[in-house]
Amino acid sequence: MRITVMQRRKAIRAAVIVVSVTLVGGGLAACAPAGSDAGGSVTINVLAEDISYTDNWKGLLPEFEKKTGIKVNIETVPYSDQAAKILLNFSQKSSNYDVVFTDNTYGTGYYQSKYVQNLAPFEDGAKDLNTFDQFYAPYLAPMQADGATFGLPVYGESTWLMYRTDLFEQYGIDGPPTTMNELAEDAKIIYEGSGGSVAGITLRGAPGIQSVYPWAGFLRAFGGDFYADGKLAVDSAESVKATQFWADLLTNYGPDGVGNFDWEQNRIAFTQGSAAMTIDATANGPFNEDTSSSVVAGKVGYAAIPYAIPNPPASGNTDNSLNVHALYLSSFSNHKEAAYKFMAWATSEAVQANAVENTEAVGVTSQSVIKSDAYAQKYGPFQDSVLQQLATGNVNYLPAGQDANAIITEVGQALSRTLAREASAKDALTAAQRTLKTQLG
């Protein structure tokens, strides 16, 4: 009897061990790191935005992998959480990601923190694929500092004013506004003339980078900046004036719900014909002209963003952005040469030409692709305006570097509070300035 009990006990113990080993083993087997050296070849990991340019790479990757023997894993995460993921990796000196794809506001900060590499030493190693001088120079500039080049541009954009030519004609407005006062007047005419059914203007109003990005154009149109004499001054007189103007404009003539508009909703409001004007990225052009999703195709005019101060400022503080999303090489990568090869290839002329041909790619950065016939044919209605805006684009449009996120988040919150009438422009911005002082020291 005792023996049976002992045996039973042993059997149970054995069963427990078998079960646990299976479970743990199953877990471990499933965890074999994605793409660990398969057959001795190098694997690189890329953290990317989920965007047409990335889809384009995915389609062409087999060619690259065959040619170079480098295996590439592309991973996408929500744009809004991407920076969190990148920074947690970088701050642990992680080699998880060899290449990250993000915009220059973040990228410059990563470079200052020495999280990403100067690429100059690698340029020659992949010169058969790509070289720095093949890029349209204004697009490369935001990733250059002190003789270093720390990112290769994938797509870029500026901002501009988009307006409905048919509505302007209908209400007898002669051409796009050239001053901020005219802009407000035109918005009023159309809003009141249509009995409120068409908004005078729509802008992104959602907190954070969403509203700050177009708003920074207003800030600069009023002659303001995020800094004064090298010190943070988000509560400057110009900033308060610009914010008040921006909030009044949206409150009086904006569409319903503008306070929650992100890029997408703003774009939809405009392409669905609910607003007469919008100020946003040049990347919106193709969406406006896409007859399958836009009811305003062929009825949109493109112009420079007006100024409130006598324009244009000689200081170079222009009110249109120059924003570039680029590939950055992690300083902690164990396969820097291979990673750079991928970066050079992904931004090469051939790959970019394929993007223009097959996907949505108005922001391509290769000089020869931008000037190609294929590009002109596809983006004819606004190609000239895009190039003009890019030429005057303000490289310092948004704060960049280590403090950028904090500034954008706080100012974005102040804008949202002003628009929501939680606080006056002055109070909201003063509070933001105070918080930023505590936070950034």
């Binding site: 009990v5 006990r9 935005e49 991973e75 929500p78």
Partner: protein, 277 residues
């Protein structure tokens, strides 16, 4: 309770149906959006009749990596739920059968477990990430499985405890006298009586793990990315493909919805940690 007045009876049934409509109509809309083209989906006036397009589903499954994500989610969810039961059941047994449930220590212990569930994930995210990163448990499903197991254990202890509190202790004592030992007593006398609870725990732990977003976002990558992270990944700064996003939402929710419906008989008791029988 029978209502004698027919008007009240009809009102009552109408109320129930109205509530069920309120629950499922938004989901019907989600499914219909996933079958529309982008133009139709964003039309100001809803389009009631349209030719369904299944392209978004194919797109989400193949290009969007939903297939891969489902495998990753299923692996993490199943392993963590099983481990949660394996670790939670003996602990619940220890605090109800070995130590009497009426003892102050046992109550305090249960309270402690319950309160552990109140700690918000945003707090423990960074500590976990850093430590796990240091020992190579990020970027693969292992780290995430460990954390989900942690939550599964808490769930399992609370559910099993509620079942075992009223389980007569004499049975265990008899088994001990038979020389089965604690594990033997647990597996041979207790387990056969709590299959229902085990099943409920498994399903609830599975749902909890399947839906979890924050830890999954930071601890997994590439092939190990789970369903919610992959779905949210379709939200990009420019040009979110809504049909694909909604299609992915439907695909991702489907297995868990089916599972929940299949086992709904055990849900109430499990969900209330045995608060109702």
């Amino acid at each position: 309770m029978k209502t004698r007045r027919p008007v009240l009876h009809i009102l009552r049934i109408a109320g129930v149906y109205a509530f069920v409509m309120w629950c499922i109509l938004p989901l019907a809309w989600l499914v219909s959006t996933s079958l529309k083209s982008d133009v139709d989906a964003f039309s100001r006036v809803p389009i009631w009749f349209f030719a369904p397009e299944f392209g978004s589903y194919v797109n989400a499954w193949v290009d969007g990596g939903m297939g891969q994500a489902m495998i990753a989610s299923a692996t993490v969810a199943i392993v963590s739920s099983l481990l949660g039961i394996f670790a939670g059941l003996p602990l619940a047994y220890l605090t109800t059968q070995v130590w009497p449930a009426e003892a102050p220590g046992s109550a305090r212990f249960t309270l402690g477990i319950l309160l552990l569930t109140t700690v918000p994930p945003v707090l423990s995210l960074t500590p976990f990430y850093r430590t796990f990163f240091g020992v190579g448990l990020t970027g693969n499903p292992v780290g995430l499985t460990i954390i989900h197991t942690f939550y599964a254990i808490l769930l399992a202890v609370l559910i099993f405890r509620s079942f075992l509190v009223s389980f007569p202790r004499e049975i265990r004592e008899a088994a001990m006298i038979d020389g089965l030992g604690e594990w033997g007593a647990l597996l041979r006398t207790i387990l056969p009586n709590v299959w229902g609870a085990t099943f409920a725990t498994f399903v609830l732990a599975l749902i909890q793990s399947w839906n979890e977003f924050l830890y999954a976002l930071l601890l997994t990558s590439g092939d190990s990315q789970t369903v919610p992270v992959t779905i949210a990944g379709f939200l990009s700064f420019f040009g979110t493909n809504w049909a694909r996003l909604t299609a992915a939402g439907v695909i991702g929710a489907l297995p868990i919805v089916i599972f929940a419906i299949l086992v709904r008989k055990h849900m109430a008791r499990g969900l209330s940690f045995g608060g109702v029988k």
